[in-house]
Assembly symmetry: C2
Homo-oligomer: 218 residues x 2
């Protein structure tokens, strides 16, 4: 059985459907790490209920202040607008976020007596997020194989796909993209201006798939 | 600067003094993960204050239930007595504990703009705790070097030392061992019967160092 690190975003929602379509038995683990776009978790819960996937939410808000200074969790740092440029997006790096989430997911997987953790890192993230790169994922897989009495594997099927590839795959799998959340601002609607909104729009355009998202600017 | 994963136990208290003696600038990060022997944190705080080491306590009690079933955190599982035998001690394994703590310590280190994390894994732990083995530490070091824009290093100077070696080193460094806590039961005094108490007593005996610990059985 695999335990998926699941955010309710576009990428991990496609991964949820992908695992389901591949007949993999799995459960989801979500994280409240004090992100401003906590709203994504409502979408995560909705998709789990829709697909009948058991889930837990790990509450890490008590340690968020230990790694402040980033725009995703720190009220004093604004989420940048102006698209997905390196200098914009670097403030959105929550240090070592994926390793923390995957470590906890591995502990949960072990506790459930199982041996696989999945996450939806993809190639579009590589430039900005060191913890989405294939070499990081490979090294992490190596650690997980040694962390307990039995090896735990790290499943990362999208690590060399673009976000547009993921949209195409999700479309083939019948994903309802309106039930996913990307915007880092976490407002009523997707803002359409922050890096992740711009990246989301571009991915739909590149994939040639209709974007059902309602953006604030429209 | 190094960030030490610090429990208030014997091994990590010697590491604290070792880093201090080596003129390393460092800070401590402690973890409340719902351990029954939470009392160890009082000793950790006392040693930090004594040595003038800044510290934080990461509260993970909100996620403890995700990896229950072990005797350290689960009220329904008794801490085993009868010494440090494999079959006894396996119930004390909190799944993937070191990886979780080191991941969070790395995030904190990055947030502080620094590049090293230290932990006190030693060879006596190898048989029981997969996440104390040198090959695990090596693999984890490899991941930390890739997790951010700059490499983070994993300092594990005791990984091939026995607990008796650590007692000897602590003795040379002038560690006040009465200011350390091992007993997994976390009672008023060390119980003297659980695996970690038995291991503690043996380490002092093997090192030829007077054990200042007051055990319940006496």
């Amino acid at each position: 059985m695999a335990l998926i690190v699941y955010s309710g975003g576009l990428d991990s929602t496609v991964l949820l459907h992908y695992l389901k379509a591949n007949g993999k038995a799995f459960a989801a683990l979500m994280f409240d790490y004090g992100q401003k776009h906590k709203k994504e978790l409502e979408f995560a819960v909705a998709n789990c209920k829709k697909l009948g996937v058991p889930y837990d939410i790990a509450n890490l808000t008590s340690i968020t202040s230990l790694f402040g200074g980033n725009s995703l969790t720190d009220a004093g740092v604004d989420v940048p607008e102006g698209g997905y440029k390196d200098e914009n997006m670097m403030s959105t790096v929550v240090p070592n976020r994926n390793m923390i989430m995957i470590s906890i997911a591995a502990a949960r997987a072990i506790s459930l007596g199982t041996d696989e953790v999945a996450y939806a890192a993809h190639s579009g993230d590589h430039a900005i997020y060191p913890d989405c790169r294939p070499e990081f994922a490979d090294a992490l897989d190596g650690v997980l194989r040694l962390c307990h009495y039995w090896p735990v594997k790290l499943c990362r099927p999208f690590v060399n796909m673009t976000k547009a590839d993921i949209v195409k795959l999700g479309d083939q799998l019948g994903v309802d993209f309106s039930l996913t959340w990307s915007c880092y601002k976490g407002g009523h609607l997707h803002c359409g201006k922050c890096g992740t909104c711009v990246e989301r729009k571009e991915a739909f355009a590149l994939a040639g798939v209709a974007d059902p998202t309602v953006y604030e600017e429209h």
